[in-house]
C-alpha cells in the first residue's frame, strides 16, 4: 500500500514537473518569437504556482521588452531575492535602472553601510544562516580547545580562530536577520505610476513635496489607510499605495 502511494506521488510530481517545464519552454519560444506580452503572462502564471528565480528573470526580460520598466525592475528584484548570485539578473537590473528618470543620491548614506548592505545582498538568508551555524560550531570547538588545552600553542591558535569564527558567525547571523526582516516586512517598493507627486501629508490636498518617476525604488516607512510614507534618498513624503508595488 505504501509503495503504491509512493509510486502515485512520484508520478504526479513527474507530471506536474513535465507540465510546468512545457509551459516554460512554450514561454521561452514565445519570447524568442518576439511575442513578449504572451510570454510574460505565461511566466506570470508559472510564478503563481511555483516562484523561481529563473522564471522571474525571464519575466523581467519580457516586461522590459514591452517597455514596462517598473514591472521589469520588480521581477528582477524578486529574482535576485531568490538567487542573489545571478550575474545576468544583476546586469539586467542595473541596465533597467539606468533607464529610470530619477537619479537618487543619498548624501546621508554612510559608505560602510552601503558596502555592508551590498555584502549582505550577495547571498540568500538561508546561505547566511548556514554560514553562521558552521562558523559557530567551529567557534565552540576552538573555544573548548582554548579552554581545555594545557598546551600554550594550541591555546593561542585556538583563541585566535575562536575570535575570528565568532565575528564571522555573528556577522552572518546579523546579515540573515536583516534579510529576514527585509523579506517579512517588505519595506522596499518600486514606483509603478509614470509620475507621482509625494505629499507632505496623507491627504490629496497636502502640499506637494517632490516628484517621483516610474521604476524608482523607495522604502516604505509607514502606512496609513491607502497612503504610505516613503523615503527615497534624502526625501520623505506620502504617496498612494496604489502608485507603488512592494518587492
Amino acid at each position: 500500500m505504501k509503495r503504491l502511494l509512493f509510486i502515485i506521488v512520484t508520478l504526479t510530481l513527474c507530471i506536474v514537473h513535465c507540465q510546468s517545464s512545457t509551459a516554460f519552454t512554450d514561454a521561452n519560444d514565445l519570447y524568442a518569437a518576439g511575442n513578449y506580452a504572451e510570454a510574460a503572462s505565461l511566466y506570470q502564471q508559472m510564478l503563481t504556482e511555483q516562484p523561481s528565480a529563473v522564471v522571474y528573470y525571464n519575466l523581467g526580460n519580457a516586461y522590459f521588452k514591452q517597455g514596462e520598466l517598473s514591472q521589469a525592475i520588480l521581477a528582477y528584484e524578486r529574482s535576485l531575492r531568490l538567487d542573489p548570485s545571478n550575474k545576468d539578473t544583476r546586469y539586467n537590473l542595473r541596465f533597467a535602472e539606468s533607464r529610470i528618470t530619477d537619479n537618487i543620491t543619498d548624501n546621508r548614506a554612510f559608505f560602510l553601510s552601503t558596502f555592508l548592505t551590498n555584502v549582505r545582498n550577495l547571498m540568500r538568508e538561508r546561505t547566511w544562516l548556514w554560514i553562521s551555524l558552521v562558523t559557530f560550531v567551529l567557534f565552540v570547538a576552538t573555544l573548548l580547545l582554548f579552554l581545555l588545552s594545557a598546551e600554550p600553542v594550541v591555546r593561542k591558535t585556538g583563541f585566535s580562530i575562536a575570535v575570528i569564527t565568532l565575528v564571522l558567525s555573528v556577522f552572518a547571523l546579523v546579515a540573515a536577520q536583516s534579510l529576514h526582516q527585509r523579506d517579512t516586512l517588505r519595506e522596499e517598493a518600486i514606483i509603478t505610476q509614470g509620475i507621482v507627486n509625494a505629499k507632505a501629508s496623507p491627504d490629496k490636498s497636502g502640499t506637494e513635496l517632490f516628484t517621483l518617476h516610474e521604476g524608482t525604488k523607495v522604502r516604505i516607512t509607514e502606512t496609513l489607510g491607502e497612503w504610505c510614507n516613503v523615503s527615497v534618498g534624502n526625501y520623505q513624503g506620502w504617496i498612494l499605495l496604489a502608485n507603488l508595488e512592494r518587492i
Partner: protein, 627 residues
Amino acid sequence: MKRFLLILTLCIVYGASCIVFADDVVFRAEAPSKVIAGKPFQLTYSVNQRARDLEAPDFNGFEFLAGPYTSQSSSTSFVNGRRTSSFSLTYTFTLMGLDAGTFTIGPATITADGQRYTSNGVRITVLPPDEEPQQTRSATSSGQSGTSGDSGTSATSKSAGSDIFVRAIVSKTNVYEQEALQLSYRLYVAGVDFAQMGNTVKLPECTGFLKQELELGDRQFELEHYNNRNYQAVTLVSYLLYPQHSGDIQIDPAQFEAILRVQTRAQARSIFDDFFGTYENVSRMLNAPAITVHVKDLPAGKPSSYSGGVGHFTLTPSISTTNIKANEAVTLTLNIQGAGNMKLLKTPSIDWPEGFEPYDPKVTNNYKMSGSGYSGSKTIEYLAIPREAGTYTIPSVAFSYFDISEGKYKTLTTPEYTLNVQRAAGQSGNAEEGAQTYTAVNKENIKELGTDIRYINTSEPTPDSPTHQLTGSPVHQFPGSPKVILLIDLVMLLLSFIIYLLHRKFARENADQTHVRYKRANKVAQKRLKAAQQLLSGDNQLFYAEIEKAAFSYVSDRLRIPTADLTKDNIAELLHQKGIADELIQQVNEVLSTAEFARYAPTTGAEKQALYDATANIINQLESQKI
C-alpha cells in the same frame, strides 16, 4: 422638434405658393387685443373660400351691438402667364366690452366645400374706461409716482384732454450687485395727435452700470391703462443694466423730443382751409425723471471658487474618455447653463495632474439677451495631453455663483475623474531605441554596437527551489529563520560551558588529590620504611613490597604522576626537569630497579639492609632537594 419645424415651413411655403389651387381653407378670427370698456370694437371672421353657415360663439362678457356684416372680395391676376386669384369673405361683428378684465371668445365654425371649419379663439383684455381727470393728477405726474414704488413718471400735460409724457420704468429698484435690471422709456399718448419722435434725444449715461441695449422688435402703439386713463403707449428704448458697485445709484433724467400735430387756430383763409383744416407740427420736449436704484452688496463669505456669476446656473461636466493612451488628447467639457451675467463669468481653472500638458480652454458662448438678462449656455472645453502612463485623478472643479432667488452663494462641483493612461503604442519599441543611447566607449578591439539586456535563461528551473516570502507560503526548511540559528548557538554555548565547568571541576579535584598526596609523601614513605625496618629480619616478600611501595609512591606523589604512569624513563626526565643532580637520579633509578627486581627474586639479609639504607637515603635526599 426640428422635423416638425421643417414640415411646418414646407407647409407654409406650399400653401403660400398654391393657395388657389390647393383646397386649403383658412378661417381666422381677428380682434384687437386690448379694448376699452364701453367702447365698441370689431371682431372679424375671414375665410378664403366660399363658405356659408357661420356659427358665431357666445360673446360672453361683451355686448353684441351689430352684425354680422358680410363683405366679399376677389381678385385675379396674370403674372408671366400664370393666373393667380384670391378670394376673401369677411364677417364683421361689432361688440362692446362691459367690465374690465380679460375675456376669451371661443372659436366659430363655418361650412366650406361641404366641410365644417373651426376658427381660432381670441383673447381680449378689456381696460377700464377713462375716469374724469382730477386735480391730483398734475401733482403726481410732475414727480415720481411713489405709490407704485417701482416706476417713475414724468408727464407734460397741458390739459386733462390731451396728455403726452415719457415714463422711465425700471424692472427692479432693489437689486444685488451684478443682478440684471431692465430700464425702459415708454411714451404715453392720449388726446393729442402724435406725429413722430423728434431727433433730439438725451439719454442718461447710466454710470455705475454695465449697459446693454435691448433689441426692440416691432414698435407699435398699444393701449395701456395707466393712472386711471387709457393711453396709446409705446416703448422707445430699453436697456439691460448690470450694477457694478453697491449703494444707491442714480440714473440721470432723460429727454425726448416729440412732434405733435396741432390744428392752427389761425383764421381760415378760405372755405377749403376751414373744411380740411390746417395742421402744424409742434415740437415738445418730454422729460423722464431721474431714478435711483438701490444696489445691495453681495453678502460676505464668497467661496474661493467664486466666478463672479450672479443669477442661476447649472453645471454639466463631461469627459471625452477615461481610458486613453499616452500622448492622446483628453477633453473635459463644462457646460454652464442658466440665466444671469453670463458674459462676466470667469472660466474655472483645472488643476491637471503632473505629467499632463494642458492647453488653453476653448469657450463657446450660446446665450441670448432678454429682459431679465442673459440666458443660455456657455461651454468650456479643456484639452490636455497626458505624456506618461499611469492612473491619474483629475481633481473636481468648483464653480460658485450667487443665487439671487435664494440670496446665497452656491457652489457647483464636477466629480473627480480617474484617468487610466496606457502606454503609447510606440513607447514599447523605445526600449531598444533608448538603449542605443547607452553605447559605451570603444575599447581596443571590441566594437560595441549597442547595449541590451541579457537574454532569458532557458535552463529548466529546479523544481525544489525554495518557496519565498513573495508567494506568502514559505517552505519550512532547516534553518528557517535567524532565531533558530541563534537558539542553536545558545545551546551550543551552554553545552560548551557545561563541558568547561565539568572539566574544571574534575581538574580541580584531581589537583587537590595529588596535592594532598604530595604533602603527605614523606610521611607515608617514612611509615613504609618503618614497617620495612621491622621486616628486615622477617618475610622477604613483604619487606620488598614495602620498600618498593615506599620508593614508588614517594616519587609518584612528589612528581604528581599517577603510579600507573611511572616508568624509569619519565621519572628520570621529570627529575631532570626539576633540576635534580644526575647522580641522585642514578641512585633513585637503582633503588627502584633493585626493589622491583628483589621483590620477585628474594635475596639475603645484608642486601635487604643495604636496600633499606639506600631507599631511606634517596628519600631523605629528595626531601632535602624539595622537589
